[in-house]
Symmetry: C2
Subunit: 354 residues, 2 copies
């Protein structure tokens, strides 16, 4: 309220200055001095008059004019595979919140997980002169990253990590381990993995974490039990089909590295007459808001997506300011629900209720 303004031709520094009979530069300095006393710039009486008039006239500085001079836009570019993926959307919400708190604005674009598009979108952002980039879709062998670094462009990774570059991610290795522990403890010995896209560190780390821990516990996990797939429901459906129709005995548990893949798998299992949570245990990843609300609630590893987004933005700000930053890996937490609550060997959840 108040800052309504006529808004037809916005009021400028010069307007304020001429109305007060002082120089625009003085107005600028007053409006920038955070402390009450505009140190050396103006008397506190003048400063007060300037501030009052600025509010009264609804002055709002022209960001492009300022950027032109300062070579800073206070805009950030965010590139994600697709915003309709709730995982990335939630991370973006964290980015946006932290950005708004720090007077940054953000552009977002989808790369559809194509390295070509990723590069193209990055160039668009840079042509917009963003101060830095947040990349949510790095591929394992990306050559974009060294390139950006060589051009001294500030950036951080989110969601997926890449050795040698700063990132804010979930500790996916630990996430995989949590699931291995859980399934082992509930008595499962024959499991399959729906492993996700092999170019994404999320998929690789979750799979690696599970695999390593499973072996440490004494379990077996042949390569044929690890099915690489897309991250969406359709991918999960196909992977589950492969698992169910593979020769040999079906596994008693399945770990899908993504909730949506898990949901797809649910459909397949049901179509094959298997009841999830009884005939076959299922665990997802990310603990999407949906997981707990499904008809058969899905066990899932919660990754702090929103916080990851916030962290990434704050890290980027520090990179922009020339500081050194360390990657952060945020700790995940397993939520066990009906889809994997029963122990293996056909003991139903009745045994839990007693």
């Amino acid at each position: 309220m108040g800052a309504r303004g006529q808004s037809r031709t916005p009021v400028t520094l010069k307007d304020l200055a001429s109305e007060l009979g002082i120089h625009p530069s003085t107005v600028s300095r007053v409006l920038h001095s955070t402390s009450d006393v505009a140190r050396g710039a103006a008397s506190s009486a003048t400063a007060q008059k300037v501030r009052d008039l600025a509010v009264e006239r609804g002055y709002s500085p022209d960001p492009q004019a300022a950027s032109l001079r300062t070579r800073r836009t206070r805009a950030l570019g965010v590139i994600v595979p697709r915003l309709s993926d709730i995982v990335l959307a939630t991370m973006y919400e964290g980015i946006e919140e932290a950005a708004a708190e720090n007077n940054y604005s953000t552009f977002v674009m989808n790369s559809h997980d194509s390295t070509d598009e990723q590069r193209r979108k990055a160039e668009i952002m840079l042509a917009r002169r963003v101060d830095g980039l947040i990349l949510g879709d790095v591929h394992a062998g990306s050559d974009l990253l060294p390139d950006l670094r060589a051009r001294h462009i500030p950036f951080v990774l989110i969601n997926r990590r890449h050795p040698g570059f700063p990132s804010a991610t979930c500790d996916d290795v630990v996430g995989g381990e949590l699931v291995a522990d859980h399934l082992w403890q509930t008595g499962h010995r024959s499991v399959s993995l729906i492993a996700g896209e092999p170019y994404a560190s999320t998929a690789l780390d979750r799979t690696a974490g599970f695999r390593q821990r499973w072996r440490d516990l004494g379990g077996e996990l042949p390569d044929s039990s690890v099915i690489w797939s897309r991250f969406d429901t359709e991918g999960g459906r196909e992977a589950a089909e492969t698992i169910v129709t593979q020769p040999g005995p079906a596994p008693t548990a399945v770990f899908a590295v993504n909730d949506f893949a898990a949901i797809g798998a649910m459909g397949t299992f049901r179509a094959h007459g298997l009841t999830v949570g009884q005939d076959i245990a299922l665990v997802g990843f990310n603990d999407t808001s949906l997981a707990a609300q499904l008809p058969i609630p899905l066990s899932s590893v919660r990754s702090p997506m929103f916080q990851i987004g916030r962290q990434a933005m704050l890290m980027l700000q520090r990179v922009i300011n020339g500081e050194q930053v360390e990657s952060v890996r945020m700790t995940p937490e397993l939520f066990v629900r009906e889809s994997s609550a029963a122990s293996a060997h056909g003991e139903s959840q009745r045994s839990l209720a007693s």
Copy 2:
């Protein structure tokens, strides 16, 4: 490729000009003339030299400098309740695609469906000098809209409509009618609605369309059968709880105006021992990618979310150019799946297979 550039101090118009021994204004005109012959600006020989050098040096115009002069930023502001809602995220993808095609960039912010935040975010966008706004979270009695119009700010609505203002939406009334027809034809006579938030035109229109058609068909729909709720799974769960525990006979079918609310309802029904698709029919709205993939596939009304996004952006562009635009309401389509495939009165889907 090619446009790599040293990028340390980007090359400017002046650089190109002095290298060619001509005036910056000539370079500017050449680079802007779309036709091969730079009409009156330069000889085609010079024009070619300019264009070649621009490519060679990786020239990319500084958008803030251009904006400062032209008073156009080629940036748009998009405000949505929350991007983690897949419906809005998908619409945004459409916006972003159309924007990119037309050399616009977009800022997105979440308003969390709060009118205060909506106004605050709009002001932030306007302070950024966006050329126009796309609002995805208008509330029924919003006073922001007349205000923006009075300030001559170009904007269009998306997702939710508001009388007297241009919008791109799904024809939600028709969507409601489709569901009424379907449930009536499959023999249902006792239905309940999970109606969504009463300040959203989507909820109001879908409910109104259903209600009107249902009555036209001869059905009854007491007010107590219309439960207003939040748009998420939790809201659906609560609403379904109300429906199931209401005195009197339970309905044989439920229409949830949102897929997520429908999924929440599924959980509740299951907890009460009701099998969706057999004991109770359920229809959602939006045909989210999840709907078809659920363990019990959910009937849903598909709204062309992506196209709505594209349309909205193109409309806004026309508004910015001072043209008059008409609201568009895009036609939805009902997809019947297992959750409502069986006819009422206990006849199972066996009868359909015959």
